[in-house]
Amino acid sequence: MFRMGKNDHATIRAVLSGDKEAYGALVVRHSHSLFRVAFRITGNEADAEDVVQEAFLRGYQKLESFESRSNFGTWIYRIAVHCALDRISARKADDSSRVAEATDPEQNEIQVADLAAGPDRLLLSGEIGALQQAAMRGLTPTERTAFLLRHMEDCSSEEIAAALGIAPNAAKQAVFRAVHKLRLRLAPLKVRI
């Protein structure tokens, strides 16, 4: 999951000793992984970049509390996940005004606000990603993050639990629920194809 640079601990000691520039090495080393997970959680490139910066800023401020036996990559990754969750929570109200996530109980179809075209056309035109994103927005933040970390980042249940601050079994159940909901919501689309 995380590549722990051999020099991460030495770099942290240098930073705490006053070498601010040394933190740059940590930022360069872990920026890509943080951007990847931030983008997958927020679903937005600009938000993901903001999350990366915020995560490194928080990490710098809390660097004294970082325990040397921990993995800096895991630690800063966890901070990024929390920052991303905070970001989508703050954005939630705005999202609800743009996208209607209510599901029609009779047809069991996802209602996307800008679905001018039908599902068949969306699938054929390669816009299935938009439908998946719509289905993802129907998940709770915990379910969505757990699924993303599991499915995209190949994290174990223990790693997901550590990132979300929940028990491993709860992380596993969150993945199960997420997969179940996603399949349930995307199933009508597949029938129409």
Binding site: L16, G24, H30, M152
Partner: protein
């Protein structure tokens, strides 16, 4: 045959179920579960196609360049934070020490008061008084009576009457021994005038008992006047009058009463 549920299929898809091989063998043997797993795999594989937009190699450097100006130098922070943390820690330590010392002294005071309360005799309980022994009082009474008779005879003795003075010398020797016993036991009689009187009597008896040869008139007169035999006779008489009171007190205590 029990079919696999969705959770087991999901675990198998993400690799957990493949570790023991049981789920995989079941999927190979069970057409229904194989179909369900294929549907799950198809659904989840579609999500894998979504990839975040790529970042170039300089992305990390750009993040750092935008972040660096807003970060303070840690050394400066440590200089300003460390003394605060140190003083805070010292404050906590001092407060703990103060509480400890205060608790210690409070405990000592409390224990001291408890000890005093336990050892303090009750106010209503009278101080135990050792009553004068009845035997001492009786012997003293007899001794004073014999001493009074001797002093009276000494007062009226003539210097030339050896027949009269010789028995007085013998009596004085006898009384001298008895007087020393009475002096030792005088503390048991609650009478402040007794001890001085017995001391005075001891001097007179000693002078009388230890005189050798016949008494001259001058010697007898010196004994009677310089030794203040008259004053001693008066003291002995006064003490004798108190003896009945002492006896009454002893009798009352022995009968369970108080004076």
């Amino acid at each position: 045959m029990k079919h696999l549920n969705e959770e087991e299929l999901i675990e198998h898809y993400y690799g957990k179920g493949k570790e023991n091989g049981v789920t995989g063998r079941h999927i190979e043997d069970c057409a229904e579960c194989a179909e369900a797993y294929e549907a799950l795999r198809s659904d989840l594989d579609e999500f894998s196609a979504t990839q975040p937009p790529p970042r170039d190699a300089a992305y990390g450097e750009r993040v750092w360049q935008s972040l660096a100006p807003s970060l303070p130098v840690y050394e400066a922070q440590r200089r300003s934070w460390f003394p605060a943390a140190l003083w805070k820690g010292l404050g906590y330590a001092a407060a703990c020490a103060l509480l400890l010392v205060g608790g210690f002294f409070a405990g000592r005071q409390w224990e001291h008061r408890q000890t005093l309360a336990v050892n303090k005799p009750p106010q209503a309980q009278p101080r135990p008084v050792h009553p004068p022994q009845r035997v001492v009082v009786v012997v003293l009474g007899d001794h004073l009576e014999r001493s009074e008779r001797l002093l009276v005879e000494l007062k009226h003795a003539d210097a030339g009457s050896e027949e009269m003075l010789s028995p007085l010398r013998d009596e004085a020797r006898t009384l001298l021994a008895a007087n020393r016993i009475c002096r030792k036991n005088a503390s048991k009689i609650d009478d402040p005038a007794l001890a001085p009187a017995l001391d005075h009597l001891d001097q007179v008896l000693a002078e009388l008992a230890n005189h050798n040869g016949p008494w001259s008139a001058a010697e007898l007169e010196r004994l009677q006047h310089e030794m203040n035999a008259d004053g001693l006779l008066f003291e002995v008489r006064v003490l004798r009058t108190r003896i009945p009171d002492h006896r009454a007190a002893i009798d009352a205590r022995q009968n369970g009463g108080t004076i």
